[in-house]
Symmetry: C2
Subunit: 473 residues, 2 copies
Amino acid sequence: MSIQSWSVIRRVRSYLWDTQKLSIKKQGLVICPVRHKHLPPKLVSQMFIKFGKMPEVSPFSSKSHELFLFRSVLYPCHPGGFHLLPLGQRVLDKLIKIIDQEMEMIGAQKLSLTTLAPKAVWSQSGRWESTGAELFKLKDRDKKEYCLGPTHEELVTDMVRDLYLLKAAYPLKLYQITRKFRDEAHPRFGLLRGREFEMKDLYTFDRTLENARNTYDIVCNAYTEIFKRLDLKVIKAEAAVGNIGGSLSHEFHLESEVGEDRVYKCLQCGHVANAEVTGMNDEKKPFCSKCGSNKLQQLSCIEVGHSFLLGTKYSEVFKAAYNQEGVGKSWLEMGCYGLGVTRLLQAMVEVNCLETRLKWPKVVAPYQVCVIPQKEGFMSYDLFNDAHRLATELNNMDKLKGEVFMDDRIKRSIGQRLWDMKNLGIPYVVIVSSLDEGRMTGMYELQDVYKDQVYMLSECELIETLNLFAKTV
Amino acid sequence: MSIQSWSVIRRVRSYLWDTQKLSIKKQGLVICPVRHKHLPPKLVSQMFIKFGKMPEVSPFSSKSHELFLFRSVLYPCHPGGFHLLPLGQRVLDKLIKIIDQEMEMIGAQKLSLTTLAPKAVWSQSGRWESTGAELFKLKDRDKKEYCLGPTHEELVTDMVRDLYLLKAAYPLKLYQITRKFRDEAHPRFGLLRGREFEMKDLYTFDRTLENARNTYDIVCNAYTEIFKRLDLKVIKAEAAVGNIGGSLSHEFHLESEVGEDRVYKCLQCGHVANAEVTGMNDEKKPFCSKCGSNKLQQLSCIEVGHSFLLGTKYSEVFKAAYNQEGVGKSWLEMGCYGLGVTRLLQAMVEVNCLETRLKWPKVVAPYQVCVIPQKEGFMSYDLFNDAHRLATELNNMDKLKGEVFMDDRIKRSIGQRLWDMKNLGIPYVVIVSSLDEGRMTGMYELQDVYKDQVYMLSECELIETLNLFAKTV
């Protein structure tokens, strides 16, 4: 087939094009953003992304932190405070969607508690004084004192006290995903130890301890499900129950060199626990809390979640009770369950990424597909058109809605742009280039970036393959 | 048809039931929440809703505020600070989805800026001092000062300065939807004048003033689109340009008696402007800025949005420039656009609600459909089963995914529960009750709450009708 007829095929294929209102300006090809029925793909030239070389990795930080700073995920504002840029925001929104879905599955109800927590409420639990310098405190214009909530046991229990719910309402599971504050003495590693962060905090209320234990298992399973969907190997470690009798506590960790937490895995039975549980912090010889063995392996970890059966610690303080006819009042049995959402956002990259490349759990990658058209030059107009049509079509597939963008920086070579996309961790790249000897007419090159594989596919095959491979929440 | 065969029909219809694992306990009908393929409808007995009579409306507050407090939308925490309860959270999430969609349509990119804004940055613009007591200020453990961002012109411009974007990247439109803080002297009317609130703030950057004016129109149109989707009559009022020459400003209002803003409508040409523009605040006689007429009508309004062509006010301070080859540097022309999201959440109810009933713009109502089964008693088991099956089926329709719940408080009469659902502003109620003389076998009663109409429909018709009537984001 001649190059001429090839060009004709491309033209004929552009049937969707008229909806896109391409305007060709003298300086090149510019797409006017207007309101579309079809969602047009975003263009890299218009996106808030900076491309460039990575500096030498600083020994004081972590791979993920450096990558986030130089791959347009974060922008530093103050020590431990970061602006999340559009690429990072998309990942965050997807993470939140997954968490919301799994919380919905276990009947948890989402709400938003206030950020400003009155001193009176925090004094009632004793934590206003006991929390120390980590609490950000401030006064309003009437000199009334507040802290910026780092967690919300006080506020939620204080509210639940006022309700007289029916028996069927228990277990009551209330959660929020909001910004929390902790005045860390040494903020570092970006979002891994920040002073502002998004956290999911879930509080559960049960009528009896037995029910609360059951709720505890249900929530822990939901956590496991979340990590499974993110393809993350999570380590669930037994944590010290502290001075609240009969309680349970677990930490959820991702293993990583930069992790500041230490957990201990028993080489005999596989049980994992934190230092306190194994007695590692005492003068005694450490041992496995399950089988008693003292063959323990230390793992460096990033803590991304914790669960805690609180018992009646807060419900007693705030007089949150269940009133049963004939039996009388009993304090509600509580549980609290945290998930560091922005910490997870970075931790999941820290454990996955390569030296210069971001690698996301595929399901939360900021975009699933990037389409790269031919470099400026011979036939580039047709190929640009075709790439844009293809990107639009992919971007309007049910599965890939809003997940496709196009690298329109046609002054750069395909190779350069492919390299950039690999660095951003975009799972799939489709290349629309001119015919050359090794390629068949009408075929597209699909790069599976995470598997490092290349396919030559017809449009039909391309659509089918992406429908099969791409992952969306 | 006999009652017996009617009951058989109901049984046969329960083919979906086995996926739901109904367990019948002695005290009644209880559904075990387990992980389902089909999303089961939520049950009112398990939902965070309090039902009860409204107290007398306090003259110091507004209808919507009272309704929000007594219809499980808000819980007060501190003056001007409210917890948003699950019903309200669902509405908020839908509002945010609509805003996100419309922002996406105009190519705006979402991000999150920090809440803590360093004093140094706010001093640079002069606003650390000029803002006054409304700014919440605090110190960290190293005595460094911050404010809780009430708006983010400083932080976003300070960041954009560091970027060297291509020409195609402009107009750059960056927005966030985050919690803002303002230490109001007199917080009141719930979310209408609060001290913590969710705001959407968009910042735009253009290379030239002409482009910036164009961007301004595009954003204002997107705002109009948002209000249109919410079925709200928005009043766009010309606002004073202040001391920044050549700038534009508009306020977006909802007309309401409790509104603390005043705008003036020209009875001759219909133009609307705020007090400053009409000269109402000066000693001169007020006049229409468009046609010069002095026949002006005063309207009480709630401001829900504003737009402002900022010019180079902040870009000069923070040295945010566009560097054009051959021409040199020019300061970026900025615009800022706010939308009070939680204020809108309440204002849209304030202008719509009835004395004791919430009324939402249908598209953002917390749920679209409530299914009410027969009161406990004769045949109630079959009808409860059928209602649950129907609710499950509706809840798994593409259009109604997650939008259907069931009022399982079967000790109460249908009428009582219908009344409760009307008070919550649920647009559609389906009643599954036993045969009585006026009703045909196999028919369901559909109540269109907002239109106050009742239909008797077969299951097929019911599904078709809801598919047509119900609105989802």
